[in-house]
Symmetry: D2
Subunit: 383 residues, 4 copies
Amino acid sequence: MKQKIRMGMVGGGQGAFIGAVHRMAAALDGEIELVCGAFSSNPEKSKASGADLGLSPDRCYGTFQEMIQREKRLRPDRRMQFVSIVTPNHVHFAPAKMALENGFHVICDKPLTFNLKEALLLEKIVDKTGLIFALTHNYTGYPMVKQARQMIRQGELGELRKVVVEYPQGWLSTHVEASGQKQAAWRTDPSRSGIAGAMGDIGTHAENLAEYITGLKITEMCADISTFVPGRLLDDDGSVLLHFEGGAKGILHASQIAAGEENNLNIRIYGEKGGLEWRQMEPNTLIAKWLDKPTQMIRTGVGSLSPEAQAATRIPGGHPEGYLEAFANIYRNFAHCVQARIAGVEPDPIRNDFPGIRDGVRGMQFIEKVIASGKSKTKWVKL
Amino acid sequence: MKQKIRMGMVGGGQGAFIGAVHRMAAALDGEIELVCGAFSSNPEKSKASGADLGLSPDRCYGTFQEMIQREKRLRPDRRMQFVSIVTPNHVHFAPAKMALENGFHVICDKPLTFNLKEALLLEKIVDKTGLIFALTHNYTGYPMVKQARQMIRQGELGELRKVVVEYPQGWLSTHVEASGQKQAAWRTDPSRSGIAGAMGDIGTHAENLAEYITGLKITEMCADISTFVPGRLLDDDGSVLLHFEGGAKGILHASQIAAGEENNLNIRIYGEKGGLEWRQMEPNTLIAKWLDKPTQMIRTGVGSLSPEAQAATRIPGGHPEGYLEAFANIYRNFAHCVQARIAGVEPDPIRNDFPGIRDGVRGMQFIEKVIASGKSKTKWVKL
Amino acid sequence: MKQKIRMGMVGGGQGAFIGAVHRMAAALDGEIELVCGAFSSNPEKSKASGADLGLSPDRCYGTFQEMIQREKRLRPDRRMQFVSIVTPNHVHFAPAKMALENGFHVICDKPLTFNLKEALLLEKIVDKTGLIFALTHNYTGYPMVKQARQMIRQGELGELRKVVVEYPQGWLSTHVEASGQKQAAWRTDPSRSGIAGAMGDIGTHAENLAEYITGLKITEMCADISTFVPGRLLDDDGSVLLHFEGGAKGILHASQIAAGEENNLNIRIYGEKGGLEWRQMEPNTLIAKWLDKPTQMIRTGVGSLSPEAQAATRIPGGHPEGYLEAFANIYRNFAHCVQARIAGVEPDPIRNDFPGIRDGVRGMQFIEKVIASGKSKTKWVKL
Amino acid sequence: MKQKIRMGMVGGGQGAFIGAVHRMAAALDGEIELVCGAFSSNPEKSKASGADLGLSPDRCYGTFQEMIQREKRLRPDRRMQFVSIVTPNHVHFAPAKMALENGFHVICDKPLTFNLKEALLLEKIVDKTGLIFALTHNYTGYPMVKQARQMIRQGELGELRKVVVEYPQGWLSTHVEASGQKQAAWRTDPSRSGIAGAMGDIGTHAENLAEYITGLKITEMCADISTFVPGRLLDDDGSVLLHFEGGAKGILHASQIAAGEENNLNIRIYGEKGGLEWRQMEPNTLIAKWLDKPTQMIRTGVGSLSPEAQAATRIPGGHPEGYLEAFANIYRNFAHCVQARIAGVEPDPIRNDFPGIRDGVRGMQFIEKVIASGKSKTKWVKL
């Protein structure tokens, strides 16, 4: 009999957005069970949130410290097996560190930490403990993203030349944080978000997606970083020229003042022989363009796809899979690896595919450097 | 502390498609727990399937009869509270009847039964027992379908004139059932599917969607029903002219030999003042066309939507919600009503929205009449 | 030195829509020169219209009779060489007959005539005179329509099974003819349009397009013909089931009350091996769907296209060609054949491709039968 | 009686691409007549090209000098009234200068000249002669481009913040110029194209489009200019960060190695209140996105459009207008102004809208500066 993996959550109390997403993603495949949580720093609120989720009061904790300590003392077949961290950026490092140091695997929302220093420390802890660490750069969970990555690996585009990755949103076009909108408030607050606003919140997704699909590292950047909304304390828009290893060049555009845009992450990659285009808002289509053949619509669940794309697909073509399914693919692969670790076996290499601590450190380096480049009068800043 | 509702499943063993869909849909929102199942008529296979799902062997039954009898004897706080039926059409009626007669609520895959006679019997049982019965015409679970229905209810299109509903698929373009493909085999077998092939499998979805959105009943039909693939025993294509109450007219096109189509359910509705268009393969967009204004893209999670659409939405605009989310909306609303019943309170009217026994009977009437019309030399057949 | 072909026009005076389209289509390729016209039955208006077009008063006639008689007496190297007829339906037959009987080639707007009787008479005259006759079913002039036709001819789809052709427009959703709108007025007037409204005006385009692309004739029809707008004298909507020779089946939908639709002619064709989809409002894309390969976007001017499609293309891919270019393709091919006739040589077979008198007669038969089917209680009416 | 304006052409002989485009654009509206040309520097080829176009041998000249001198001596009612220059960049200045100095209006292909020096000289000549000068930045001729410009002028987007303009093509992904492909050969040859390849050929279109629509001037740029194809002598790709007057920021991306792209010019503009998106390959749709309303599809010929968009439209909505129609709008407006000048009246202000000498000088400045920025280590270069 297959056992569900037991999850404890930090953050994600009533009114939170991303906590609910993590819970649905964890629940979808029936392989993970939420058993406890420190859903809020307010113990009453944490208990109320837990009760909504069907948890008994004794598994709802007032602090992550309490959760980790108390769970550790529970019987091995009862206590949580990993911690999911869904708090704002400034509360990633401490629970991740403590969880790891107490033997719990960790899955953490992005960006990794409040700053690069914390990220490098956490990397050491992950390496030392040898525990499994996943970062929810969830967009890499889409089947067609995996298909794109595999096509490039197989050389179908030839050597890559140009990458254009965009992440325009419009929801911060006005000074919504002034009205107390919770999602906006912490993301635009340097004491909770870190040195970057849009570049941290969504720029890192764009950076991660570009590097994941192309398999190429960005080597240097030239950034124009802006704050358009009066009174805002962090950047809400950025345009960045990119140089990749191997000579490819690129553009990264991330904005939260692109009025009227929803969540329009997209990427186009051009090589010697063809191009690929993927748009998150219609995620089940990967457009492949060729020098001398008709453009193809490669579709989730249709025809001969890479094993990686197939493994990330749940239902037949034409039954659209969405954001939660892609997010759940991160959880599912993470859960698979945790189960393999428990069982003492090697994970399936196709499932051993989720963003980890290196991606997290990379993202924090990106944040530091892109903000630095924005302030620099020198054209290129190394990454 | 909120309790999860406990579900038992009939069918959906290893290798099944729709059973897994039902389980993911039930799991997504963390409000339903799978506690038992008769996953296969083969007891060994049923236990193996249950073990894969983390169920203990004593809750995996060899028959639905055994499941219902044994569960009934369990302590009320332990036994299943509703039955999910995910078998082929010819095994809908018996488990539904027995579950209801033993006090269990039922959620059942479509079409309702093997034939209209069973459907009418089942309707009586549902009415007599007063239990909650849901039918998974899952496409009505999409937020933009609900939005369309509400816009029409509010009179935004004026009186309706024309409805075009299509459901082209291409997966039965060749004689795949001859190769033993499991999904194709039962759907094209009159002893398991009933008198209709494509018209039952997907034609009923189209019929249900059209009546759900427009709020109008089809009154008569003129059908051209075909079997294109040599050797096939049931229809694989149908074109139907429709008359609706109130004078609207329509076209229903359902096909499983529309080569190259995935699952392209779509509907267009025209009234005096404007038109609506919705396509399942891009389900988060509802296109509204007007006599004298620019066409609008109404989007899941964006702007001022009806309460019904909002209640069916989990995440902000631009984070695509897909097939499983829509399917889960049927489960979520059903679960809400079951919980309200248990708690002895009235359900939220916005949640009391899922296809039920009447839709099921309607679908079976549609099947009988559309097949009859296909054989008739008279132009119009009443529905 | 290549000579331009000299055109005389009947109809198309100030305020006309389709006359201006014909003139632009004729002018585009620099192979046709407008030299005279009877632009209006009002001689003053005809002269004023001609003056706007840069014609001298002596070539602007008060009637088509006068034009034909007077032009015939001009020196051969000066007089018009063909007549373009752009009047409402009831004024097609007489000028076409007279032009042909006086030795002029004819290009005529569709539908061919006011009724089938006239069409059959005209067919005899065309046959007897042996002159060149073109009918502007302009949508067959699009490169991607020709590409679709050639792909089907080459057997790329295998045997055809299903054809869905639609022509929804919304511009007659209200009783605009009551306000004197000129285009609406004659199209909804039985004394000028004939027995059909929408089915004649746009239904014939759909019928012609389906038969042109598939190469199959419709053999019988079952029609539901409606007039939705109170006070309207002719049909404004029709839904038709189709049987084609060889066993293919189809649906034809033409409507002028599809509120909010512009000019949304589209066709989908499914065969044993794949499907094609073409939409007039994005005419440079032909979507090819396959049983086991990714969907392809075949594009005007891109890659290996049929010679017929290439001959209908003027500019490289990505430079959109539109309605006027497709219309001009009819004129260009017609002009080529007229020039070949004058030169006493055979026309290029690829250019000898434009709708002619047979298509016109076919269209009039379609009108008669589809209206008859709409009134019939028998299911199928032969065409 | 309205007279056609008489055009002489420089360049555009047999085998040329853009010459044929100019002739079709000039012919479409029946207001311009091609009367003579120096179609090739080879007199035989010039005569042969002219004969194909129906010109008599005495109006086909071996050089533009000969054409200008000889035409000038013809009777005023016979001689050409303006010169259309459709040669490669290095043969723009001399014929333009000579034509203007001999009293002929000029319409010239872009970019204006071979280098900025020539451009500034030509500007002085235009100013001195007071003659009409048009530059075929043809993409500004599209109705929806004009609509976008007017919406921004009316303040519908509020203050502008971000502009993203892209012009990816893929046709130079391989070293085609080595195979003698005529279009590629001169565009990649510094002695005919000037200092820029892609940035001159298409980058200037992007720059012109962005400034035309926004009404804002670029003030400084930071460019990354590349040559990806080995052996190529000029740039084939560029990514540019932009600063506009008033504080808006932007990205310009032009590439001819974006493998698989046809001619994908597109622009997105975001302001305080909303955003606009236009894509040349589907030019009849302007997407308007709003902070709190559904996205709108504004369409050529549909609903309430600006007078400028309406004046650029020939046919009703849903009848797609394409590249040639947009190109013809430049010619039509230019011809209107020439006719007004001849008639001694003021042109209609709505027609007095075409790119002119200032746009040409601006484009040459853009070329100089963007290439300089590409070589600079300093981040920002003033424009």
